[in-house]
């Protein structure tokens, strides 16, 4: 008992440091909540008098609104087309996840389990493609998707672009993980008469769940958070995705910070929740991919 107590005493400085640092790190998030619940569009948490004192300034810093109101949330969902933008984002991100995970799993399995000509070249080209600057690809992508495939202003145009951009990272990470799954399981399964497809779906995929979770999260985030390609491809306001819409609130000369804050919370919530669920996998997945890749 005494031992743990002294242990805690030693840690008090660490706790002090951690608490202050955490407060600093969480502050912008609290700030957004304060603006969102303030019910108006201002950037300030509290009004300020002409000759502000120390405490007036302190009041504007404290992340607690003067009046708590759901006004911004209800307005952004009803008066602004934000609900529609969210729906667009959900569709795009969900399909991106499905397609992206499928593409990454099959490719990573092949790279991990088979030896074939051009294997190394393929893997390296995936790695190099991570360095392609987006600005180099935008104009050609626009030409391919909008001019040739006539997929401008559609979900599929975005889904195709997002799921392929997510492939290289996902493949490298999954390959690292697949490499750690022992080959003997598969060999014995083959002895028992299992086909490759059965092995892939019944053995490898269930075993690789943590890594697949990370891959899914990454693909989802790619679709959920992208705004440049979306703003180029989606011409009609009704087709905007949520990120394009959020930028619409405070980009240029627009100053609807209340809508922005409320919208941000709505948009971030699913990602943050997903992130928190998968974060224990994330660490093992990332380190496995990092070390073995």
């Amino acid at each position: 008992m005494k031992d743990t107590l002294t242990g805690e005493m030693n840690h008090i400085w660490l706790h002090l440091f951690l608490i202050s640092f955490t407060l600093l790190a969480v502050y912008p998030i609290l700030w957004v909540f304060a603006i969102a619940f303030s019910g108006n569009q201002s950037l300030m948490i509290a009004d300020i008098s002409a000759n502000p004192t120390f405490f007036d300034h302190l009041r504007t810093i404290l992340p607690w609104p003067q009046h708590i109101s759901w006004q911004n949330f209800s307005d952004v969902m009803t008066e602004q087309p934000f609900a529609r933008w969210m729906l667009n984002s959900v569709i795009v991100a969900a399909l991106t996840t499905i397609l992206g995970v499928f593409l990454a799993c099959t490719a990573a399995y092949s790279f991990s389990r088979f030896k074939f000509p051009a294997q190394r070249a393929g893997l390296m080209s995936f790695l190099v493609s991570q360095m392609f600057p987006g600005t180099l690809m935008l104009v050609p992508l626009y030409i391919i998707i909008v001019k040739y495939l006539h997929l401008g202003n559609t979900y599929w145009g975005l889904i195709m672009v997002y799921s392929t951009t997510a492939i290289p990272f996902c493949v490298w990470m999954l390959k690292g993980y697949f490499d750690t799954i022992s080959v003997e399981i598969e060999e014995s399964a083959i002895m028992d008469g299992a086909t490759r497809t059965m092995i892939f779906f019944r053995i490898i995929l269930p075993l690789a769940q943590p890594a697949i979770a990370v891959t899914a999260l990454f693909s989802f985030m790619t679709g959920w958070n992208e705004f440049i390609v979306a703003s180029l491809f989606m011409e009609e306001e009704i087709r905007y995705t949520a990120p394009v819409g959020l930028r619409f609130f405070v980009g240029g000369f627009a100053q609807q910070w209340g809508y922005f804050a409320a919208g941000s919370i709505i948009v971030s919530l699913p990602v943050v929740i997903l992130f928190m669920f998968t974060q224990k996998y994330l660490i093992s997945g990332l380190t496995a991919g990092g070390v073995k890749g």
Binding site: H15, W31, T135, T164, V267, V271, I283, T287
Partner: protein
């Protein structure tokens, strides 16, 4: 038969012939179509030029201009013209029109017809520029292919040597007469294959060019190549002469049309007693820069010399296409005939499972990642902009000019009246900012992340899970939202950061007005969102270090610093090195933060390379230049990647 004919060669020849003749026919069709289109365009230009001459005479006589124009336009309708507009620039007046839906004429142009006025201004500027510079640089006649299969031609009319307005004609397009090239192509391909089989069989019977045990025969390969090239050559020659005939017919049609136009012009001029200039040379059949083409003489006859010039240019191009087709076909033939295709097929079959699994991703990547990448590289050698997107890349090709313009401009500092100033648009300044941005961010990320990971890894620390979840939050929030939040917090008047400064008695800072303070805003934002990644990576690495190593070290009397330096850091290396490489690449291309927080303010001084490339592409619309800029970014990153991998390998070898 199998004994005498080499199967790989036969199959290769079949494919090569099919490909070559198909492509050949395609090129010929394309050339015929282009030819027909250019004739249609010239038909339009001739009309527009003739009409603009009439209009300028009516305008310079200055009696009952509008009434006479209406009559002239009506009379002109005999020439199967879809619709005509005559627009005078001063006063933005629509003087005459036979287009449906234009309402009562004459009148002022309406607000939604501003594009008509702008078009006229462009034509005037083009005319003046070309006259002042003495060269044909800007197009003086504008052609537009309308979606409803009509051609819109706009040509200026001049009074006293100055552009006063322009005429616009909407001509219905004739469906171009097809050139029969499919039949000869199929026949040619069949002949090539037939001749090869007959020859191969005949020679084989006498023991010449017999295939070896694996079915390969060099002799037959050479034979097939010869037959193929000969067949293709004959096809090319006959098709080119067919093209020449085709042009002749089209030109004759145009010359006839020219006579009709001339008649109409003369009739109008006579009825209004206008002064006319006799047609000695053909001044109406011109290109878009109003340079005479000298193909027909204005009296219904073709000029062989002028025609030959046009023909020669086309033939040169066609010959080059056919050369390319021949090379491609030969390569295919060789590929199959030398047994490479067989080996490739063998490899594919051998590893069919591997390729099956990898193919969906590879196909997706090829279409949507690698092809756009290569297309972008090609674009970087052109001066493509938003204004010439329709033009073929070949016409826009400018070689290394973009790269030279970017890299050879070393005037980062310029001397002005106020002393030395930095040219923020210069590539090297942006590069400097980008490197500083990357180094500072990654250093902050690594040191803060490592520090937090070490603290959180302390044995027996309570609430560790709570801290960790809260500290990961900045990473979980979409980074564009983070960027916009921080932009709000850095607001000069209402931002919370300036409130803190004022609370402490300081003056509010205009964050985005200073080069350094603006840089700081980006660093703060990016630091905030990037430390959790490093922290998580380090935590993962720390947890895999076994405690026994520390105990052993303590027994040896190693202090905390020594333990950190000789156990913790080396054990973290396998995690840290890839994490650093990744975050360098990420930060180098961290578009969202710069773009959304400071937007590169002030005056573009805080742009990093990637945001600068974006602005060149989508704010200045210089696609070619932006592509070159982006390619340079890629080369820098690639060089960094290779260097980093070499370094890692070298250090690993030392240990």
């Amino acid at each position: 038969m199998k004994k005498f004919v080499s199967m790989p060669v036969a199959v290769g020849l079949l494919l090569a012939a099919a490909l070559a003749f198909f492509l050949g026919a395609l090129f010929v069709d394309q050339a015929a179509e282009d030819m027909a289109r250019s004739i249609e365009e010239r038909r339009g230009i001739v009309q527009a030029m003739a009409l603009s001459e009439v209009v300028s005479r009516i305008e310079s006589q200055d009696t009952d201009v509008e009434g006479r124009l209406a009559t002239a336009v009506k009379y002109w309708g005999r020439l199967e013209t879809g619709g005509i507009r005559v627009i005078r620039l001063s006063g933005a007046r629509l003087l005459a029109s036979s287009m449906p839906g234009d309402g009562t004429i004459p009148r002022r142009l309406k607000m939604d017809e501003k594009y008509l006025f702008d078009l006229g201004q462009r034509l005037r500027i083009a005319r003046e520029t070309n006259r002042d510079e003495g060269i044909a640089r800007k197009k003086e006649i504008e052609l537009e292919h309308m979606p409803d299969n009509r051609l819109s031609v706009s040509a200026p009319y001049l009074v006293d040597g100055a552009v006063r307005g322009y005429v616009q004609l909407n001509l219905p397009q004739h469906k171009p007469a097809r050139l029969a090239s499919r039949g000869p192509a199929i026949l040619g391909a069949a002949l090539v294959i037939g001749v090869f089989f007959v020859l191969a069989l005949a020679l084989g019977r006498y023991g010449i060019f017999r295939p070896d045990g694996r079915g390969l025969s060099r002799g037959q390969l050479a034979l097939a190549a010869g037959v193929l090239l000969l067949g293709l050559w004959i096809f090319a020659v006959t098709q080119l002469s067919a093209l020449a005939d085709h042009r002749w017919r089209l030109e004759e049609g145009l010359a006839e049309h020219f006579m009709l136009v001339r008649e109409a012009s003369r009739d109008i001029s006579q009825s209004f007693a206008l002064k006319t200039a006799p047609i000695t040379d053909n001044r109406w059949d011109v290109d878009e820069y109003r340079r005479p083409l000298h193909i027909n003489d204005g009296h219904g006859h073709l000029r062989l010399k002028g025609l030959d010039g046009v023909q020669a240019a086309l033939f040169k191009e066609m010959r080059r296409s056919f050369d390319g087709v021949g090379l491609l076909a030969l390569a295919l033939l060789l590929f199959s005939g030398a047994g490479w295709a067989g080996r490739l097929k063998h490899t594919l079959v051998e590893n069919r499972e591997a390729y099956l699994y990898v193919s969906p991703a590879i196909i997706g990547m090829l279409i949507l990642v690698f092809f756009p990448f290569l297309y972008g590289i090609v674009l970087s050698f052109t001066d493509a902009t938003i204004y010439n997107t329709g033009a073929p890349l070949k016409e826009l090709w400018i070689g290394f000019t973009n790269y030279v313009n970017i890299l050879a401009d070393i005037h980062v500092f310029a001397r002005t009246g106020q002393g030395w100033v930095v040219n923020y648009q210069n590539f090297y300044w942006t590069l400097y900012i980008t490197v500083a941005w990357t180094v500072v961010n990654v250093s902050i990320g690594v040191s803060v992340g490592l520090l937090l990971a070490l603290i959180l890894n302390t044995k027996g620390l309570k609430l560790r899970a709570v801290y960790r979840v809260l500290l990961i939050l900045p990473w979980a929030i979409p980074n564009y939202i983070t960027a916009l939040i921080w932009r709000g917090m850095f607001h000069k008047q209402f931002g919370v950061i300036n409130q803190v400064i004022q609370m402490c008695g300081g003056e509010p800072v205009a964050w985005f007005d200073g080069v350094f303070s603006s840089f700081i805003t980006g660093i703060a934002t990016n630091g905030w969102l990037s430390f959790p990644f490093m922290m998580v990576m380090c935590l993962g690495g720390l947890q895999s270090i076994s405690q026994e190593m520390y105990e052993a070290a303590r027994l040896d009397g190693a202090g905390r610093w020594h333990q950190f330096r000789y156990i913790t850091l080396p054990s973290l290396k396998p995690v840290l090195v890839p994490a650093i490489i990744i975050s360098v690449v990420w930060t180098f291309n961290m578009f969202n933060i710069i773009f959304l927080v400071s937007g590169g303010e002030p005056a573009g001084s805080n742009e990093i390379l990637i945001t600068q490339a974006y602005k060149i592409a989508f704010e200045q619309y210089r696609y070619g230049y932006a592509a070159a800029y982006s390619t340079i970014i890629f080369v820098i990153l690639l060089a960094y990647g290779i260097f980093q991998i070499k370094m890692t390998k070298a250090t690993e070898a030392n240990i």
